[in-house]
């Protein structure tokens, strides 16, 4: 009898969690495309120095506002043309990928770390501390994110670092609320009680027992957080409150594009397309991740 049970188990070993995840994730075609694009962008960012045909700061004074290669007057030296001071747009876009992804990584890391700490402590400890933290988050949420980010940059002064800090503060409430909500849902479950009975201290309870079980929604939010961070950083760059020229940041590249709109559409089009595609890729992947990680969606 026991042999047959063993045989049965051998016949169908449970799939590795990662493999199971991939099965659900890859059902969503859009999510897979998004993921491939993200990998592509990461590769571009990492190997920007090797891949980019020119230095993003080099000004080719004899090739100002040159159109892309497929248009009259374009040359294969500058595939997507050049901007108003003769810098190669392709190279600037590739180096821009580096900046945008870096902004995403730093913003998500900062806000995720702070959000987890504030959320888990307020959910676990409760009391006046919880009210204080949650009210503070409500205030941040009461302001439109871009307006608050602008206000913070107005205090700190416009630069890419300050823009990153401002965006991290602005998106913080989402992580805090999400973590707190998960902690509230988990904290009365049996395994948590068991661990408390075993004598776990508050630190262990929060970060070793509870946190791993609250991670799924946070992973989804972090992925979607990349798109928000990239979009907001680009918006601040566009308004002149983020990365400063001549930094090849996608938003900053569009900052004075309005004046070339009549004669050089490529200066306007490509940086925005890069922002759109990257943000879209993260949103697609985030949606797929949510479906794959949410047990309710699994059939």
């Amino acid at each position: 009898m026991s042999d047959t049970i063993m045989e049965h188990l051998d016949a169908a070993p449970p799939p590795h969690p990662l493999k199971e995840f991939w099965v659900y994730f890859s059902e969503n075609k859009g999510a897979v495309i998004g993921l491939y694009f993200i990998v592509f962008a990461i590769l571009l960012a990492v190997f920007a120095d090797v891949i980019a045909p020119h230095n993003p700061f080099d000004q080719y004074r004899d090739a100002i506002l040159q159109p892309p290669v497929w248009m009259d007057g374009g040359s294969s030296k500058f595939f997507l043309g050049t901007d108003d001071v003769g810098r190669d747009i392709v190279s600037r876009l590739i180096h821009g990928a580096r900046l945008s992804l870096l902004v995403g990584v730093i913003v998500v890391t900062l806000s995720l770390a702070a959000g987890i700490i504030l959320g888990i402590t307020s959910g676990y400890l409760g009391g006046f501390y919880e009210i204080l933290v949650m009210r503070l988050m409500d205030i941040i949420l009461a302001l439109p994110s871009l307006l608050l980010a602008l206000a913070i940059v107005a205090i700190l002064g416009p630069s890419l670092q300050n823009a990153i800090l401002a965006i991290a503060i602005v998106v913080l409430p989402h992580y805090v609320r999400l973590t707190r909500a998960s902690v509230m849902a988990e904290k009365n479950k049996d395994y948590v009680t068991a661990s408390r009975v075993c004598g776990s201290g508050p630190f262990r309870m929060m970060f070793v027992v509870l946190l791993p079980n609250c991670m799924a929604p946070l992973i989804v939010q972090a992925t979607l957080g990349f798109s928000t961070a990239i979009l907001d950083a680009a918006a601040l760059g566009f308004l002149g409150m983020g990365a400063q020229p001549p930094t090849p940041e996608w938003g900053a590249m569009l900052a004075n594009a309005l004046q070339f709109i009549q004669r050089a559409w490529w200066v306007v089009t490509f940086p925005g397309l890069a922002i759109l595609l990257t943000v879209l890729a993260f949103n697609l992947a985030g949606d797929g991740l949510r479906d794959a990680l949410d047990p309710k969606m699994k059939r």
Binding site: A142, L146, L147, I155, F238, L276, N283
Partner: protein, 336 residues
């Protein structure tokens, strides 16, 4: 219901106080004090500096300054602009109709397109139409709207020449500003063609500003529709032999609207933030552009006042949405 109303009204107090604390600390967090800021790059001699500090009440303890500030806020005194020397509230109110007009048109556009698109996508789940709407709305949601505005100008204004590039009204017209709403003012004026000009100036900015709310509304309507269509009462309605249109538009839609209304309310904040970008691109003389210019000019009272008014507006809109929600769905009145 009245009790619910007052309870919600009390809830907004901490948020409002928090926002005033934030705007109050804004001016104190900036390196240098308000006197130096006002003096600008010219600098100021120490004796005059000290005198001005006393004059402006900056020598008092912080909490006294805060209460003075709050007292002013409740009387509508938000200080004066460093640059124009005019009261902030007055400046804001002259510019606000432009933003309100633009935001309203953007929201109307978003609802008119987003709601039907979401309903049809939900009803015809899995069809090409559904996939197109969902793809388009995810793209719209991911759109950097400042670039979207540039693209629209590039295509419709520069390439096709259909719409003007910027501003609210063609320079050919001279209109008496009564209400501040260009559509109303031009209708009331005798200038032929002025209304058409005002309308044509509104189209592109409204589309650009409405894009993200449109995407959010379409997605929300679709998922809410899908949820509701599974309900028993929808099956009952179908079983009674009602026409599909009646089932969808009367029985399903009314219930599906509850989350959609919340989302529409929450988009107010998105609209006001989007207005900063949209107004900058289209040179629209509204509040968003004014705040950005104030930041560039380091006109701190204006930044402070502008943020305070906008945050207060959003808090009140959220309150309105909550109350509306309570009216539509009686269960909410009692559970909170």
């Amino acid at each position: 219901m009245i009790q619910f109303f007052f309870r919600r009204l009390l809830d907004i107090f901490p948020a409002f106080i928090g926002v005033t604390l934030l705007t109050f600390s804004l001016i104190h967090l900036i390196p240098g004090d308000a006197v130096e800021l006002r003096a600008g790059e010219r600098g100021i001699d120490p004796a005059r500096h000290a005198a001005m500090k006393v004059e402006m009440g900056l020598d008092k303890p912080l909490y006294v300054q805060y209460f003075k500030y709050i007292g002013g806020v409740f009387k509508g005194d938000l200080g004066r602009s460093f640059v124009t020397k005019k009261p902030i509230l007055e400046e804001f109110l002259t510019l606000f109709p432009a933003t309100l007009e633009l935001s309203t048109c953007a929201m109307i556009f978003a609802i008119l397109v987003g709601l039907p698109a979401g309903i049809i996508a939900g009803v015809k789940r899995g069809t090409v139409f559904d996939h197109t709407v969902m793809g388009a709305s995810l793209t719209g949601y991911s759109m950097p709207i400042f670039w979207w505005g540039l693209l629209m100008i590039l295509f419709f204004s520069v390439h096709l020449g259909w719409t003007p590039v910027s501003g609210r009204l063609s320079a050919l017209f001279w209109i008496d500003v009564d209400t501040g709403f260009m559509l109303i003012d031009t209708l009331r004026s005798d200038e032929p063609g002025a209304f058409k000009s005002a309308l044509s100036h509104l189209i592109l900015p409204s589309i650009v500003l409405g894009t993200i709310p449109l995407a959010v509304i379409a997605r929300m309507t679709r998922s809410s529709m899908l949820e509701v269509l599974k309900e028993d009462y929808v099956r009952t309605a179908k079983a009674k032999g009602l026409t599909p249109n009646r089932v969808i538009l009367v029985h399903a839609l009314r219930n599906a609207m509850i989350p959609v209304i919340t989302v529409i309310g929450l988009q107010t904040g998105v609209l006001l933030a989007g207005a900063i970008l949209t107004e900058t691109i289209f040179a629209w003389p509204g509040v968003g552009k004014w705040i950005l210019e104030s930041i560039n000019r380091r006109d701190y009272p204006a930044i402070q006042g502008g943020i305070l008014i906008i945050a207060t507006l959003i808090i009140f809109v959220n309150l309105g949405v909550d109350i509306l929600y309570g009216i539509i769905n009686p269960r909410i009145r009692y559970t909170r």
